[in-house]
């Protein structure tokens, strides 16, 4: 295969919001104070499943300083949800997880609001708790939603009782493939759920002026938040304005529509601005965004020469109490369980099981890191079963340029093979290591999401420019990359552009800081908007320089006639001329690239994840040192090679990979959410839910396999925000498995679980010897 490597962009630019954030002058939502502002608090169920038999807010309302107490009776009776309309703003008579909101209070201060919350009387008839996704699928399991069949839902979803979304992918004849395989390997894996855990707990401020409401909120997706408010409070979009101050991280946890409507409704009822500030505990329990736990049963058949001939895999995902944005996770999880491999015969089946847990939702690369962990652990088991080196096995079986993926998508030029080769080389794969160290390797993939997106560009009379974009920033720096694209289009410098964003009433639509899509889609929009101005500038320059517009070149802040650099006029001069006439205004969106064709596979419950636009590939190789006495694993070095197409902002791209790797280490070793017997989260706080710290960060070597990818983002770029989070935990697992002598079948691979596996291996060895 050939990999073209475009000249790397030399610009390693520093993000424009950096000084604000570092010096403390930047404003976050929680920093806002409005005159007369009230504090909001929620009354949570506190139990996982129950029918409300009494709900009395009289005493709460009577407390001096309490301005509003709301329940579902006080808001429009709207059932909402992006895939299944299974949720209401407040409990609809039944609570289905411990942080279900039963009522909301606005009061003069937080302490008074809390007193009012405590004064709300709620009595429940306890219902059976559905605490395990697999048993939830049994025909006689108690239903989380007794009215599931009557709910509105996306027509693509296949639903049945507690299974909110069944999805299958089939190709070839899996029975025959297994029968003809030289070796068949079966594996079971279980991944716990985990959390996005952004540093900023969410905050929302709402203020009404007449019949219009402005909501400042810490969301990654302002237009989604607006749509949620409009739907649940029955308002047109032009009366709801969402503004996002600086966002203190999201990692997917602030995607979707959360509590904006509750706070807007409180502000309306109280006739005062209202602010909600979440505690860390609420941030863990209440959002409908928790990385889904998944259990896996894999079966893979290989030929005697090491080729995968068949795979059968079943996944059960924990949906939690409401479907939120997880409706497409069963198909996405199935794709990740098949992986970037060539498999002629396959059947993947995935179930999204309702439980009485916190709802699952988009946390950075939903379904991918845990499924990659399970698949790639299984892949090493398969390679070992036929005596092949795991890297050679992947090189033999991974997809490649011009070859066919599991659903029959034929890939254009892709760099997965080069990623494997590069990561292995950077890690020193094959080197002699001490007895307590090993290198594990894993490959991963992730789609780019092609969706509509808009931007405006304008140049004022003094030659200074603004980009007005719907794109949202969640800490990745992706929005900060947009000026570079406009500058290149207009022959200006990035410093000539100021960004205006974070306001739905100012800028055109964008999906938000989600799906690794900002540069991919909004970059296209900014270039299209800038191109309109470039057209204007060429016409103005042609007039000014008495030349053909087709001969005008824009570069170095000037317009000049091609081949005659002496005949030039500064762009600022042209902007001055335009300020007296037609004005320099561009708007753009461009057409998103369409989905590639697939053939030969059959998908049930097709949520649009069977064909991937501009798929991203990665290979991580991780050297791990294991203390076999305690089961404590230490990450010594990470090599990460990524095909994310052309890299436009190398500094930002490296930051994404470093962050994704560190998040992956956390998922591998320490981050997991368990539930007690009553379906309460056991580790809903940073004291017990351990994120990785700087002291845990290993050296990380990064390589980008840069391919100018067709049918992709600007300049052949793909996404990059989620892909770095996919393969790290899997690579760590494969190193640990070598050191332990068997895979650790639960994620996270805590010291206790590693040690348990070591004990099992020791017992089996003794048993085998006897």
């Amino acid at each position: 295969m050939t990999v073209t490597t475009p000249a790397p962009n030399p610009a390693r630019f520093i993000r424009a919001d950096g000084p604000d954030k570092v010096t403390g002058s930047g404003r976050y939502t929680a920093d806002l104070t409005l005159t007369g502002m009230l504090a909001a608090k929620f009354k949570y169920a506190g139990i996982a499943h129950g029918r409300i038999t009494r709900l009395d807010t009289t005493a709460a309302k009577a407390i001096p300083g309490v301005f509003a107490v709301l329940t579902q009776a006080d808001v429009p009776n709207v059932r909402f949800g992006p895939f299944v309309q299974d949720r209401t703003l407040f409990a609809d008579g039944v609570v289905r997880f411990e942080a279900e909101i039963v009522a909301a209070v606005a009061a003069v201060d937080a302490a008074t609001a809390q007193r009012a919350v405590d004064a709300i009387v709620v009595e429940y008839e306890l219902l059976p708790v559905v605490n395990d996704p697999e048993t939830a699928l049994a025909a006689d399991a108690p239903l989380v939603h007794t009215d599931w069949a009557s709910y509105g839902a996306s027509g693509a979803l296949v639903r049945e009782r507690n299974d909110a979304s069944f999805s299958s992918i089939a190709k070839g004849d899996v029975e025959r493939g297994m029968a003809e395989a030289a070796v068949v390997v079966r594996s079971r894996y279980d991944a716990d759920g985990c959390h996005a855990a952004p540093i900023e707990p969410r905050a929302i401020v709402a203020q009404w002026e007449g019949d219009k409401v402005t909501i400042w909120t810490s969301t990654q997706v302002p237009y989604d938040a607006r749509a949620g408010v409009c739907e649940t409070l029955e308002l047109p979009a032009n009366r709801v304005r969402i503004i996002v101050p600086h966002l203190g991280g999201g990692f997917g946890g602030k995607c979707g529509f959360h509590f904006e409507a509750h706070i807007a409704a409180l502000a309306k009822a109280a006739r005062r601005p209202v602010r909600l500030l979440f505690s860390r505990r609420e941030e863990f329990l209440a959002p409908d965004k928790r990385r889904e736990s998944i259990c896996y049963d894999f079966e893979t058949g290989v030929s005697s020469d090491g080729r995968i001939v068949a795979r059968r895999v079943t996944l059960v995902l924990d949906n939690g109490a409401y479907t939120a944005d997880a409706g497409f996770f069963s198909q996405l999880g199935a794709m990740h369980a098949l992986g970037p491999y060539r498999i002629p015969n396959l059947l993947a089946e995935a179930h999204l099981a309702y439980t009485n847990h916190q709802p699952s939702g988009s946390v950075r690369a939903p379904t991918a890191p845990q499924t990659c962990w399970a698949l790639e652990s299984h892949t090493d088991e398969v390679a070992r079963a036929i005596g092949m080196d795991p890297v050679a096995f992947r090189q033999l079986n991974a997809v490649d340029t011009g070859l066919e993926g599991p659903t029959g998508q034929i890939y254009g030029e892709i760099g997965v093979q080069e990623c494997i080769e590069r990561a292995a080389r950077m890690a020193g794969y094959g080197q002699q290591l001490p007895d307590d160290e090993a290198i594990g390797v894993a490959i991963g993939w992730w789609p780019s999401f092609a969706v509509p997106s808009g931007a405006y560009v304008k140049i004022d009379g003094d030659g200074s420019a603004q980009i007005i974009t719907g794109a949202q920033e969640c800490g990745t720096g992706s929005v900060m990359t947009l000026p570079q694209l406009a500058a290149d289009e207009l022959g200006m410098s990035a410093a000539d552009f100021q960004l205006v964003y974070q306001d739905t009433s100012v800028a055109p639509y964008d999906m938000g800081a989600t799906g690794s899509q900002t540069l991919f889609n909004n970059g296209r929009a900014v270039i299209a908007a800038a191109a309109q101005i470039a057209q204007q500038l060429r016409a103005l320059a042609a007039d000014h320089l008495e030349a053909d517009p087709a001969d005008i070149v824009l570069a170095d802040g000037q317009a000049f006639v091609a081949g005659t650099p002496g005949r030039a006029v500064p762009i600022a001069t042209l902007a001055g001329i335009a300020a007296g006439g037609e004005l320099l205004i561009g708007h753009g969106s461009g057409m998103p690239p369409g989905p590639p064709p697939i053939s030969g596979s059959t998908c049930v419950g097709d949520a649009g994840m069977a064909a991937w636009v501009a798929p991203q590939f990665s290979c991580h190789a991780v050297r791990v040192k294991l203390d076999r006495d305690t089961g404590v694993a230490r990450i010594m070095h990470v090599a990460a090679a990524h095909d994310s197409g052309t890299i436009i902002n190398p500094l930002g791209a490296e930051g994404q990979v470093q962050g994704g790797v560190l998040m992956g280490i956390g998922q591998a070793l320490t981050e997991g959410t368990g539930y007690d017997n009553e379906a309460h989260q056991r580790t809903a706080g940073l004291l017990d839910y351990k994120l990785q710290t700087c002291a845990d960060a290993p050296p990380i070597d990064i390589h980008f396999v840069q391919i100018n990818t067709p049918n992709a983002g600007p300049r052949g770029a793909k996404g990059l925000a989620e892909a770095p989070n996919v393969a790290t935990a899997a690579a760590i697992a494969n190193a640990i498995a070598q050191l332990v002598g068997a895979p650790v079948r639960q994620l996270p691979m805590t010291a206790e679980r590693v040690w348990d596996t070591l004990q099992e291996v020791a017992q089996n060895t003794i048993g085998g010897a006897a």
Binding site: R281, T630, L669, T670, D688, K690, T693, A695, A751, W755
Partner: protein
């Protein structure tokens, strides 16, 4: 709610005499976590972080006296680190640099969690805890002082003024298992001190109090060679087994009893091997 900020020990003791059940706050690194989690409601507060007498230390011959307000960042550095290296090792695992600048040895004693990082070292060193009230003072051995999980012999109106530790010639060390490399509560921790023909072993996070291990200590003292620093691998293994037997761990959301019991054995054997590096 009243907050009193005395600057002398006499003022602090007078404030506690007026309000014997007041919450004493030094660095606040334990108290404020509990307050923020709603696990503790605070009425009256006596801040002792500005009491100069509590913030000093002194060495008298082979005895080190640490004021209750000496911080972990002072303990992890020279010269204290050279005199009580095990306590310095424990200090380096307390929280983050910010927490070590605020958190104090007196605070560790005041909270008295079985997972308190400094406590196994204080227990293994047979530290003496000094308490004062407006009209009296008394000194308790660590074993007398800690009576249960987060329960101590301190009486209402009493203030922890300091702790005295012997400066010993023999090897000493501290080790813990936690889930990451910084800001982590010990899953299990062990301190080992060798002094004048004795071996002392204390276990943290595996019982209601810090546990000393008399059987392991006597066994080690009788079976190692102190001059040539020899311990056979059988002795090390048996020492670990006796440490495990002394542990009284529980299952909770941080770990399992089985793992904790196993881990203190590993840590005890490693510390003994470091103290007696020759087979």
């Amino acid at each position: 709610m009243s907050v009193i900020v005395p600057t002398t020990l006499a003022e602090a003791l007078a404030a506690l005499a007026d309000s014997p059940s007041a919450t004493v706050v030094a660095g606040g690194t334990d108290v404020m976590v509990e307050v923020n989690f709603g696990h503790r409601s605070v009425s009256d507060v006596v801040m002792v972080n500005r009491v100069a007498e509590l913030r000093t230390w002194r060495r008298d011959a082979d005895v080190l006296h640490l004021g209750a307000g000496v911080t972990w960042s002072e303990i992890e550095a020279s010269p204290i680190a050279e005199w009580v290296p095990a306590l310095a090792q424990a200090a380096r695992t307390v929280g983050s640099p910010q927490i070590r600048h605020a958190g104090t040895v007196g605070g560790n004693l005041g909270t008295c969690s079985p997972a308190g990082d400094g406590l196994p070292v204080l227990a293994a060193l047979d530290a003496v805890v000094h308490l004062a009230s407006a009209d009296s003072t008394r000194s308790l051995s660590f074993a007398e002082y800690m009576v249960g999980p987060k329960r101590t012999a301190r009486r209402p109106g009493e203030l922890i003024t300091g702790v005295t530790l012997p400066i010993v010639d023999g090897w000493q060390g501290y080790s813990k298992v936690g889930v990451r490399n910084a800001m982590v509560i010990a899953t299990a921790s062990v301190a080992l001190v060798v002094d004048a023909g004795s071996v002392r072993l204390a276990l943290g996070s595996v019982g209601p109090t810090i546990l000393r291990c008399p059987e392991a200590e006597v066994f080690a003292a009788n079976n190692v060679d102190f001059t040539s620093r020899v311990a056979s691998s059988e002795v090390v293994a048996q020492f670990a087994e006796l440490a495990r037997a002394a542990a009284r761990p529980i299952d909770d959301h941080r770990s399992t009893a089985v793992y904790r019991r196993h881990a203190v054995g590993v840590l005890a054997s490693r510390l003994l091997r470091r103290a007696f590096p020759n087979e």
